[in-house]
Structures are given as C-alpha cells and as structure tokens.
C-alpha cells in the first residue's frame, strides 16, 4: 500500500495530538493547538478536556474557532466563565496539565518572544504581546511549543515574553514559577525535548525525509543532537482521515 501523502502542517498537528494523554486538561490557543487537541480527543484521548482563556470550558464546538472567545465555543460547553476563572482558578489554581505556546523567537531553553523584535524600547517590529501566553508558560503543569522551523525564529529572544526553562538547570524553579515548563518543541522538521538536567533543547525525532543538517541549517542556535535520532512516525491513514474529514473539514487551518 502506498504511504499516505501529508503536509508539514498536518504532521505538526498530528505530532501535537499524539502527545496529549487521555484525561488531560488542555488550555488551547487558536490554530494548530486547537487542531492537535481536537484530533487527540477523536483518537486516543476521548476524555481530554479543552479550556479557552476567554472563559469557555470543556468545549464541544461543531466548527473551528477563529478566536479564543469565539461564539462557536459556546456550543455544548460545560461552563462559560471569565478570565479570572479560566486563567486564575483553572490555570493558576493548578488544573491545566498542558498549555500550547508559540512565538516569533524561541531560544535553546524554550523561552519565547511574542512582544518585540529588536530593542524593546524602540522596536524594529512590535508584536502582539503576551496575551495569556506568559500566564500559561508560568503556570501550566507542562507546556508544548508548536512552531515553524525557521532560522529567524530559532533565535535568542530579544525579549522573554513567556518563560521556558529561563537559563536552564533549576533557574525556572528558583524564579518561583509553577509547573515543569516546556516539555516538547514540535516543528515542521523535527520534535525536540529538553535535557533533564541542563534543560537545553534536544532533538528526539526527525520527520520523514529530514536530515540533521536540514534542522541545523534552519536555526541560529545548536540543539543537543544525539548520535542516533529516530524518524518521527509518519501520519497514519486514520490520523489523516480524522484530521481532514472531522477536525478541519472546511480546510480553515489546513487549506
């Protein structure tokens, strides 16, 4: 049987979904994180629950949301609250197992910048700011970073908006932050985790057809590269079918 064809976006969503355990409570942003969570729910994690920061809790939306307080998230939600409850009671209170994050710059410790490129006081490019990202990075039990693998993105942060492992080692714990910090970086070339002691990013699998050289060529810092790195399991026909037919049938994100 011929191997199914897939896009990088699809592979990223599928890699994200595989890492969501059944029963996890996930705080999702729009875009790939939503696809990953909804796909996980339809595959191996039917008891995973999704929370959106605007206040929609345990959602069962029929259509994909374009925003974190989208009216589509009202459909069969178990509760509808406010930011104090979503980010205060659920997140800071310790109920969120996984938070998904992204950013314009990501460093070797999983710190993220979504505030400004260049000098913070006189930015070359002003970005959106934290929103809830710093809260999620500071307070979720674990975070997963999902981002395109580009040289300009894998760059020292001009500004740390969302704390990862800060300066590595136990610096995150010392700063008074909650949770274990970033666990994985999912890109369109590979998946990385973090070295247990130094907390530096480490490549754990290369996507089908991708070499170590491809990964290094597209970043400004060097991750830990074990001698032998397995290939990421290619998407199965079932994963692709559910992603395309049930999660994003209109191709709103994947189109």
């Amino acid at each position: 049987m011929a191997k199914p064809k897939f896009t990088n976006q699809e592979l990223m969503a599928i890699c994200g979904a595989r890492l969501v355990p059944d029963g996890a409570v996930v705080l999702a942003g729009t875009g790939l994180p939503v696809l990953a969570c909804m796909l996980a729910q339809k595959l191996h994690a039917p008891h995973a629950k999704i929370v959106y920061e605007g206040g929609n809790i345990d959602t069962h939306n029929k259509e994909l949301p374009l925003s974190v307080s989208d009216p589509r998230l009202m459909y069969k939600a178990s509760a509808v609250a406010d930011l104090r409850q979503s980010l205060g009671e659920l997140l800071q209170g310790g109920y969120i197992d996984i938070g998904f994050l992204g950013g314009a710059q990501i460093d070797r410790y999983g710190n993220l910048n979504s505030t400004a490129i260049g000098n913070y006081k006189k930015p070359k490019v002003r970005l959106v700011g934290s929103g809830g990202a710093n809260d999620i990075a500071s307070l979720a039990m674990n975070t997963f970073i999902i981002t395109k693998h580009e040289k300009r993105k894998f760059h020292k942060c001009d500004y740390i908006t969302s704390p990862g492992h800060l300066k590595g080692g136990d610096s995150r714990l010392k700063a008074g932050l909650r949770g274990e910090g970033p666990q994985f970086i999912i890109t369109d070339l590979c998946v990385m985790d973090f070295h247990p002691r130094s907390k530096r990013a480490r490549v754990v699998s290369l996507h089908p057809g991708v070499t170590k050289k491809d990964v290094l060529k597209n970043m400004n810092w060097r991750p830990i590269m074990p001698r032998k790195i397995p290939e990421t399991k290619a998407p199965t026909a079932k994963e692709l079918r559910i992603l395309r037919k049930e999660v994003d049938p209109k191709g709103e994100y994947l189109g």
Binding site: S67, D70, L73, R84, S130, G131, D135, G176
Partner: protein, 297 residues
C-alpha cells in the same frame, strides 16, 4: 438608577486624557460603535487599559484617540499584530506598558474590590517582570517573599479607570446587565471604573432581568449610564445577535497596513454616522451575519 442617554452623549461624557477601560476581547463584544464615535468626536490623549482588546484598540490607536496603554495583547487573532497599534508604537506615537491577560484582569478586579494590589504567580522571571516602558520598574510590579510561606510572589497594582464602557447583549432600564457568553475581563473592567457606561444591543424591561437574577453580571445600582446601540460590536461578534464579520476585519487589516489605507478606511467606515455605516453594509450582509437561533452565531 442608570440614566439612558445616546451614543453621542455617552462619548461627550468622557474628558480627554481620561484613563478608560473599553470592553471587548478577541473577536467578541468590542465597543466598536463607541470607538468610532470617539474618533468622530476627535477625542485624544486617552490612557487605555484592558487585557486582550481586539479591533477596537487598533481603531483607537489609528484615530490617535489613545496615546498610552497598559494591556496584555494588541493583535487581531488569525491576522497577527494590530496594524495601526504596531505603526503608532514603532513611530513613537503610542506608548505601551506590557502585562498579561491574567495580571491585567487581576489589576482590574483589585480596583473593583477596593484593594491596592493583587498577588500573582505570573510574570516571574520573564522580561515582563524585568523591563518597563512607561513607568519605573518598581511601579509596574513588585516581587516579594510571601509573609506566610516565604515563596516568591508578584504583586501588581490595582487600577480604577476614570471611565469604563462595555457592549453587551441586554441591559434593563435600571441598568442591570446580562451577558450571554464568556465574560473575558469585561465585568471586572467595568466594575473597577469610576463612571460606568453600558452599551447594549437592546434595553429590556426590568421584569425580563428580574425573572432570572442569577444571570445578572453587573447590578444596576453600580451602573451610571445605559445606551441602546444595536450592532454596536460590528465587525466583532455579539453572541445570540450576530457573528463576527471576518471578511470586513480582514479588509480592515489589509487597508490599515499603510497610513493612506487607514485614512481611506476612516473616511468610508468610521466618519459616517452609525446609521449610514449599517446602511452601507447593507441588509443582505446583516442578514448573513445574523445569529441562528439554535447556535447563537
């Protein structure tokens, strides 16, 4: 008891240089009509506070209504950085102090319940704690040792805006407010403000609200002014009334990539009266956006 006034009168009540909370979060319930009227009345030098505002903060930045802001976010979801906010900041016409969605909400809640600061475990160790643009760092956030457990905890100052404005589904003649969807930080922002203005899709008889008082999110005795503004959140959404107009939001973002484009947008979609704007949008489009009874969008 709340006094019913017009949109024009409501905006006239806001002096220039006020600190103002204007409701709306990520594609829903943005006070768009109010923000357009602020531009029509040439309001300026406002100090804007909010958690995750959306298209309205970009409009207010474009129209040079606001010159300073303390926010967590200034973007348009699915599109990226708010184009006018970005340009105003990069050109030095708008100053910003960065917080997070949780900490801005807690600062407003602190203002609402009358305490000077609120504790948080957010922001620690990041540049949000270590860098400040508008104030001395110690005025932005303090990191202290908890007097009971010894752990590190951040303290953020409460806010009491001069004026708070939100756009909601319904309010009654006594000023009792109902919101049908996720509240974001709209209720905390309004309650924190000294003068409270509620804009609603419809003003209903108080019997409607008093039949189900559990649904009241702001009691009327706190509210100063009410205004009936149908379609006041367009092009963002009002659950149970109308969906967001993503085509228009995308057109807006595209036009506002340049100052000339913004000027053109302003002439076409901001300066005319609300009635003219809705007429220009057309019956057909309004019908397409109208919420389906079963789904609410």
């Amino acid at each position: 008891m709340a006094q019913q006034i017009t949109l024009q009168e409501a905006v006239k009540l806001v002096p220039n240089m006020s600190t103002i909370f204007i409701g709306g979060f990520a594609h829903v319930r943005a006070c768009m009509a109010f923000s357009r009227e602020m531009i029509r009345q040439k309001k300026h030098d406002m100090y804007f506070v909010s958690s995750g505002p959306t298209v309205h903060v970009d409009l207010l930045a474009a129209g040079k209504v606001i010159s300073k802001m303390e926010v967590a976010y200034s973007g348009i979801e699915t599109i990226g950085p708010a184009p006018n906010v970005r340009r105003r900041i990069e050109e030095g016409d708008l100053e910003v102090e960065d917080y997070t969605n949780l900490t801005m909400t807690m600062r407003l809640y602190g203002g609402a319940i009358g305490v000077p600061f609120m504790p948080t475990k957010s922001m620690l160790g990041s540049d949000l704690e270590k860098k400040s643009l508008m104030k001395r760092l110690e005025e932005k956030m303090a990191v202290v040792e908890c007097p009971f457990t010894g752990e590190a905890v951040g303290l953020v100052p409460s806010i009491n805006p001069d004026v708070g404005v939100i756009q909601v589904q319904r309010v009654d003649t006594d000023g009792n407010v109902q919101i049908d969807d996720a509240l974001a930080s709209d209720v905390d922002g309004l309650k924190a403000s000294d003068m409270k203005i509620v804009l609603a899709e419809e003003i209903v008889s108080t019997d409607v609200i008093r039949k189900d008082p559990k649904k009241t999110v702001v009691p009327g005795l706190m509210v100063d002014f009410i205004v009936e503004v149908p379609h006041g959140a367009w092009p963002t959404a009002m659950y149970n009334f109308y969906d967001y107009d993503q085509d228009h939001i995308e057109m807006y973002a595209e036009m506002c990539r340049t100052e000339e484009g913004w000027e053109k947008y302003k002439k076409e979609w901001v300066l005319p009266s609300e009635k003219e704007i809705l007429k220009k949008l057309g019956e057909k489009r309004l019908k397409q956006l109208k919420a389906r009874k079963t789904l609410g969008y």
